[in-house]
């Protein structure tokens, strides 16, 4: 029974997607949209298959940028959240700066970074870190602030060190917030890597996209967009799975809804 509901729930979305794609195809064939602005959906898919070889070379580079950037963002945000939780002075000093860092548009920052750091992978990973750091640190910080005080006091009364309190009580409680921030960051990470490549470089999906655009190859352009969408979905799915695995007590499937 639950299985059928699950399938039924997923199929609503699939049906809508199918209808939208059909609408897309019809708009192009009726010339409601010019075909050099919006290609046929089928052409996009066949082009994607055709270029999969050369695309993969660039995809690999972008994945690396996104993954390294995300990992470093996670490490930095956990570290900073830890420090800010321990020392409220640091939190008061740093938090507004973090906030401001988010208001700087990545597209404006990218050319500056390329001036300072060149066109290798480093400035791109830097951009991904900048994009991903804030959602994670903010969510984690909020999670840490709302931990049950009684549990902390209990641990302290048993002589736990700060590190032990953090590891055994605070972080697990804040984990939900952490993962919600991580999901946001993960979705941005791949797109962030692509945009960062627009500052220039040798390889990467963003570079490939610009080249396709300049060659007026609209099929390739859309194929790249499709890959970006799929990759972002994949990363999100992986993070969600990770959450499920590390926090089994939280899974929605334990709700009895049939």
């Amino acid at each position: 029974m639950k299985r059928l509901t699950n399938i039924a729930n997923k199929s609503y979305s699939l049906i809508l997607i199918f209808l939208l794609i059909a609408l897309w195809h019809i708009s192009v064939s009726l010339h409601l949209v010019k075909d050099f602005v919006l290609p046929y959906p089928l052409d996009v898919v066949t082009t994607l298959y055709k270029i999969r070889g050369e695309l993969f070379v660039h995809l690999r580079v972008t994945i690396q940028e996104a993954v390294y950037g995300l990992l470093f963002a996670i490490i930095f945000s956990i570290a900073f959240a830890f420090i800010m939780d321990q020392f409220s002075v640091v939190k008061k000093a740093l938090f507004p700066i973090f906030l401001v860092s988010q208001t700087v548009p990545v597209i404006l920052l990218a050319p500056l970074l390329s001036m300072w750091f060149g066109f290798g992978m480093f400035p791109k990973i830097l951009v991904v870190i900048l994009v991903c750091f804030f959602p994670i640190v903010v969510s984690l910080n909020e999670g840490l602030e709302t931990v049950d005080r009684d549990e902390i006091d209990l641990m302290k009364s048993m002589g736990a060190s700060y590190l032990q309190v953090f590891k055994l009580v605070k972080f697990p409680s804040a984990a939900i917030s952490f993962f919600s921030g991580l999901k946001v960051a993960a979705t941005y990470s791949f797109m962030g890597a692509v945009i960062s490549e627009w500052m220039g470089g040798k390889e990467g999906l963003g570079i490939y996209y610009l080249r396709a655009k300049k060659s007026f190859d609209i099929n390739r352009v859309f194929a790249v967009v499709l890959v970006i969408v799929l990759m972002s979905m994949l990363i999100y799915y992986l993070v969600a799975k990770l959450q499920q695995v590390t926090m089994p007590w939280n899974n929605k499937t334990t709700n009895n809804k049939t």
């Binding site: 220039g200 470089g201 080249r211 099929n219």
Partner: protein, 333 residues
């Protein structure tokens, strides 16, 4: 129900009439001008001064055209003009050729050449020692991200038996040529009229290799003015009028570069005055050169270059040159 529907219908009809009345009155207050959007290829520069002068000197309003100049994100003028976002725009012979031969072709046509001869080439710092294509070996080329650039380099290097594999290519977004060749790349493709002059003005020593000096097939029209096939079909008179005013504008610039550049600076005050003036003086001779008149294009240039493009795989299909450009809307000489 029936009566209510009738009331609503009357109300809607009255409202729509009101809109028309208000709209019509407003139109009668202003002179009936054709509004035209002109889409640039890049930032406003001395290639575009003819248009700005035509605006300032009233050549456009003389033919009842009101021009708005728009600066797009890089390289989009072709598609924007084709979809009607702009009536006219700035493009390049190679770019238009690629657009017309793409798998989903873009229906744009070249109607005037802004400059008669190709003033572009590869430039780098003198200390990088790039005196001829043979010296490209072992260097880093900062590309604008189009395949044609590598084709140019390959053609030029082959002429001197140099190995194109020994060159590294990085796609860069270069807002400042002088910064990028100082820091990250050894040479780039530039218009001498702008970046070359800028280097002179700033006292930076550069070496410059003009494309057609190495291979005469590489003398193509850049930049050019384009319009869409749709506009030519629907309003050829507008195209003629636009070009008649533009011609006057560019003739004025060719004769009075120092005065004309002020029109550019009025519309783009962030432009460096010294560079712009020096650049405009350099370009003054290039707008008309020894052609029949400003804007006129020769069939041989279109055909030769398009053959080169096809031979070197820059375009996948042969370009139908007859359909790609026309002189018919330029003022008769």
């Amino acid at each position: 129900m029936h009566k209510q529907m009738k009331k609503i219908l009357v109300l809607v009809l009255v409202m729509s009439q009101l809109v028309f009345i208000v709209g019509c009155t407003k139109e009668e207050e202003t002179v009936e001008m054709d509004k035209v959007t002109f889409i640039l290829d890049w930032l406003p520069n001395t290639n575009h001064t003819g248009i700005y002068s035509a605006i300032e000197k009233g050549y456009f309003s003389d033919v009842n055209i009101q021009v708005e100049v728009i600066q797009p994100s890089e390289g989009d003028a072709n598609t924007l003009v084709a979809t009607g976002q702009g009536e006219f725009g700035v493009s390049f012979q190679e770019s238009l050729s690629m657009a017309r031969t793409a798998e989903n072709p873009i229906p744009i046509i070249a109607i005037a050449a802004i400059i008669q001869n190709n003033t572009s080439g590869f430039a780098g710092l003198t200390e990088s020692n790039i005196k001829s294509p043979k010296d490209f070996e072992g260097k880093i080329y900062g590309s604008w991200g189009t395949e044609i650039e590598t084709a140019f380099i390959k053609t030029m290097m082959e002429k001197e038996n140099a190995d194109v594999e020994k060159l590294e290519v990085i796609d860069i977004v270069s807002y400042d040529f002088l910064t990028s060749i100082t820091n990250d790349v050894d040479f780039q493709w530039i218009y001498y009229g702008w970046d070359g002059i800028a280097a002179e003005e700033k006292g930076v020593d550069i070496s410059f290799i003009k494309l057609q000096d190495i291979d005469e097939r590489l003398n193509f029209y850049t930049p050019i003015i384009i319009t869409s096939e749709t506009l030519i079909e629907e309003d050829p008179d507008l195209v003629k009028r636009f070009l008649s005013a533009a011609t006057k504008g560019y003739e004025y610039v060719a004769a009075n570069p120092e005065e004309a550049v002020k029109d550019l600076l009025k519309h783009a005050p962030e432009t460096d005055v010294d560079i712009a003036t020096a650049s405009q003086i350099y370009l003054a001779d290039e707008f008309i050169a020894d052609s029949k008149g400003w804007g006129y294009m020769e069939d041989s240039i279109w055909t030769t270059f398009s053959d080169w493009m096809f031979e070197n795989g820059v375009i996948a299909k042969e370009l139908d040159v007859e359909k790609a450009y026309t002189n018919e809307f330029l003022p008769k000489k």
